[in-house]
């Protein structure tokens, strides 16, 4: 937010205070702070991670958007950039990392694989998109997305942050007492077991009576 914008909140400011006092709304100043210091987690999965590093480097320079501080620890980051193919072996780790992130937290699915499996969707060890497990805020298309596309996606995320209101965000929601999104960590069994779907899986896998089998 530029100085002029801060100084034009729609209220009359006495001329002697102009340039020294800014009047704004709580939402705007709160979101301005958050959107200008999004700390992504330093966590690369596959090919897209290389373009993520390129976007951090000199030519594309994500520091312009306040996103140059990459944190290797989930406890200190706001943004989980899922940059690459999510495999079944890896997804318990990603979900655990997400659970460890403090609110407010955002997820960006970078590239075709993270958005929906991409070219590897049919693979036996591939999760067809991270949105099967985590709530995704922004999808970035491309295989891999160019750094420009990544920057565009992150600007979209900033726009999303701008529209949130401190009155409604889930991490201050006292009524529901849910200050954070928690996703049960999937289990590696004979295949990947999504713990939220246990009953459903049991029902589908149940042995079918003989007549139904012949019908199928």
């Amino acid at each position: 937010m530029s100085n002029e914008e801060l100084n034009s909140p729609g209220y009359e400011i006495p001329p002697e205070l102009q340039g020294q006092v800014a009047v704004t709304t709580l939402d705007r100043i709160y979101n301005w702070g958050r959107r200008s210091s999004v700390w992504p987690m330093m966590f690369g999965l596959a090919c897209c991670a290389i373009e993520m590093i390129s976007a951090q480097a000199a030519r594309y320079d994500m520091a312009r958007f306040g996103m140059e501080v990459m944190r290797p620890s989930p406890r200190q980051s706001d943004l989980l950039l899922v940059s690459g193919t999510v495999t079944k072996k890896m997804v318990p780790v990603i979900v655990r990392l997400y659970n460890q992130m403090p609110e407010p937290k955002y997820v960006v699915a970078m590239g075709a694989c993270a958005s929906g499996g991409g070219p590897f969707k049919e693979g036996y060890n591939v999760v067809a998109g991270i949105d099967k497990f985590l709530p995704v805020d922004v999808y970035i298309p491309g295989c891999p997305p160019t750094p420009q596309a990544l920057v565009a996606g992150l600007i979209k995320l900033q726009e999303k942050i701008d529209k949130q209101s401190i009155k409604q965000v889930r991490w201050y929601d006292k009524k529901n007492k849910a200050d954070s999104v928690y996703v049960p960590v999937p289990v590696l069994g004979p295949d990947l077991i999504d713990l939220r779907r246990v009953d459903e899986l049991k029902e589908i896998a149940a042995p079918k009576p003989a007549e139904e089998n012949s019908e199928a």
Partner: protein
């Protein structure tokens, strides 16, 4: 025509008559299009030892499985080469396809077979008797079935081969999720109950495989070892690699790499794809070097097809491959300094040049990273106007100055020298035994470079040195890579000077190529080591077997040996100097 013709190759291989040396136990492989020998499994170790000790095939390049479902046979294919150069030898063991399938392990002869045999056990279910640590490697313990077998079907299975007929039925798309009863990419057998299912801890086998011993110091006070898990999310592991380390104080006592966190089933998907459809998938193996990956695969299929590559295309291939090598080594330097603690500033220098090289790739191929530029018998398109000028600017002015700058800034830098020099020494004998290739092998003093040892493309025309260094430590690996960039520039200057006019592909570009039945192994000197593609065709539009011999994967076999006795902080640097990339490691 630059690739060695199959007949020449065969003639050299035939000079060695294994069937006369081992009558009855070894027979020539007479299937049309195949070469090499079929060895009785009882005699395998004897033949292997003979080849290594008496014939000089000291480098076991690749071991892989092939499932001949219609014949009811499972085959294990070995490819061995001499580090002094020349063509290699193929030998195979065939066993009936009835569980338990057992083949003796060759780890005692070539320790480099360790991870590869584990991979075959994981994907094909072939038990290697005598293997010291036979666990699953790419999938997890408890995974049901052996996924590369031809009768094992994945959850999103549709048909055996692409193009799938259902892809666009009357222009409508049918999601894979709609076909699967679980509406997801999972598959459970009938009667599976997640609530009653009890897991064997998949990590248990891993931890028991770590060396156990009680440490007792001389004063009789018992000390404890610390088990440290590094990764899969760790900034030093270059992706989703994990290592489990046992520490005595700060010293590494034992270490096991854990991989498969990026196992994207290249080979299973590759066997459903048509030959050409695999080309973009090779880009995503070693995603820094898509041009080199393309070349290895094109080489293998060109050998099968017997197609020649036009002159201009050969030159452009060399130009692209060497630019890739420079770009890879630059990134490697930046990232390794990251690992040493010089956070991101050296990487920024490296990425600056990389962007300029990627601009060239984007101009010729349309994509920065995933070039998909090579075709069987040539290239996808010619150099666009003005690109050659850009390449010349880079090669003649900018890059050599940049390499000198790296040299000036780093080579005598006190911190770099004290972190790298004398640590993690590897002897040339060990490096060969563990099937290491690429700069890591050359840093031990073995002048083995496939561009020289078995020239492919037109590398036999260029004047360049195979860079070696005698020390075998991490500093030697750094120096080898630095000098290799200069040699690449030397090749580039010659290639640009010799670039002829002419067509860039033999015949018309084809979507569906006809590949005669047979087997072929195409290997190139990728920036990280020997990158090989083992392709079997049965005359159909899809490969019967598509195997990638990934240098990152096989170079890691010696990781434990390189790390034991060093400090935990050095492990990060050692991993950095091997130069792994996870897309290729896990495939």
């Amino acid at each position: 025509m630059a690739t060695p013709t199959p007949s020449l190759r065969q003639a050299q291989g035939d000079a060695l008559d294994l069937s006369a040396r081992f009558p009855g136990a070894v027979n020539a492989d007479k299937r049309p299009g195949y070469t090499g020998w079929i060895v009785d499994k009882e005699k395998l170790l004897e033949v292997a030892a003979f080849l290594r000790d008496e014939m000089g095939y000291d480098l076991l390049s690749s071991v892989t499985g092939v499932d001949y479902l219609p014949d009811g046979k499972m085959e294990v294919v070995y490819q061995a080469y001499k580090t002094t150069g020349g063509p290699g030898i193929f030998f195979k063991v065939q066993v009936p396809r009835v569980d338990p399938i057992e083949v003796p392990s060759v780890v005692s002869v070539w320790p480099g077979a360790d991870f590869q045999e584990r991979e075959i056990w994981d994907l094909y279910g072939v038990k290697f008797t005598g293997h010291p640590d036979l666990r699953r490697i790419l999938t997890w313990e408890g995974f049901s079935g052996h996924p590369m077998r031809k009768d094992w079907k994945e959850a999103f299975y549709e048909e055996d081969a692409k193009p799938f007929k259902s892809r666009w039925p009357e222009g409508r798309i049918k999601m894979a999720e709609e076909r699967n009863p679980f509406s997801d990419n999972v598959m459970f057998e009938e009667g599976f109950d997640p609530e009653k299912w009890t897991s064997n801890d998949p990590e248990e086998a891993l931890y028991t495989s770590l060396k156990k011993y009680t440490a007792e110091t001389s004063d009789g006070i018992k000390t404890d070892h610390i088990l440290v898990n590094m990764g899969p999310q760790h900034p030093s592991t270059h992706g989703v690699f994990r290592a489990v380390v046992i520490l005595d104080g700060e010293t590494v006592v034992s270490l096991k790499p854990v991989m498969g966190y990026l196992h994207r089933n290249h080979e299973k998907i590759g066997e459903r794809n048509t030959f050409l459809q695999n080309m973009p998938y090779t880009d995503r193996l070693d995603y820094f070097n898509s041009m080199s990956n393309n070349w290895g695969y094109a080489l293998a299929v060109e050998k099968l097809m017997g197609v020649a590559v036009p002159e201009r295309a050969e030159y452009i291939r060399v130009i692209m491959a060497e630019l890739t090598r420079i770009q890879n080594h630059m990134i490697w330097m930046g990232m390794m300094l990251n690992d040493l603690g010089a956070y991101f500033t050296p990487a920024l220098y490296a990425f600056e040049e990389r962007e300029l090289i990627l601009d060239i790739f984007e101009a010729v191929a349309g994509s920065r990273m995933m070039c998909n530029y090579f075709r069987f018998g040539g290239l996808a398109r010619d150099l666009p106007e003005g690109t050659l000028g850009k390449i010349k600017d880079l090669v003649f002015d900018r890059l050599s100055a940049k390499v000198d700058e790296f040299d000036r800034l780093l080579t005598e830098n006190e911190i770099l020298v004290s972190r790298l020099k004398g640590i993690s020494k590897l002897s040339p004998e060990d490096a060969i035994a563990y099937s290491m290739t690429g700069p890591v092998l050359r840093a031990t003093g073995v002048p083995y470079d496939i561009r020289r040892a078995e020239p492919y493309g037109i590398y036999d025309r260029f004047d360049f040195d195979v860079v070696t260094h005698a020390d075998g430590d991490m500093y030697a690996r750094y120096l080898v890579r630095l000098e290799e960039m200069r040699q690449s520039l030397r090749i580039l200057r010659q290639a640009i000077a010799g670039l002829p006019e002419g067509p860039i592909i033999t015949g018309k570009p084809q979507y569906q190529v006809r590949v005669p039945a047979g087997e072929a192994y195409g290997r190139i000197e990728a920036p990280k080591g020997e990158l090989g593609y083992y392709v079997i065709s049965n005359g159909k539009p899809n490969p019967w077997r598509y195997h990638v011999r990934a240098p990152s994967f096989i170079n890691l076999t010696a990781l434990e040996k390189m790390c034991v006795g060093t400090k935990i902080a050095d492990f990060v640097a050692i991993l950095g100097t091997i130069d792994i990339v996870l897309g290729e490691l896990d495939r």
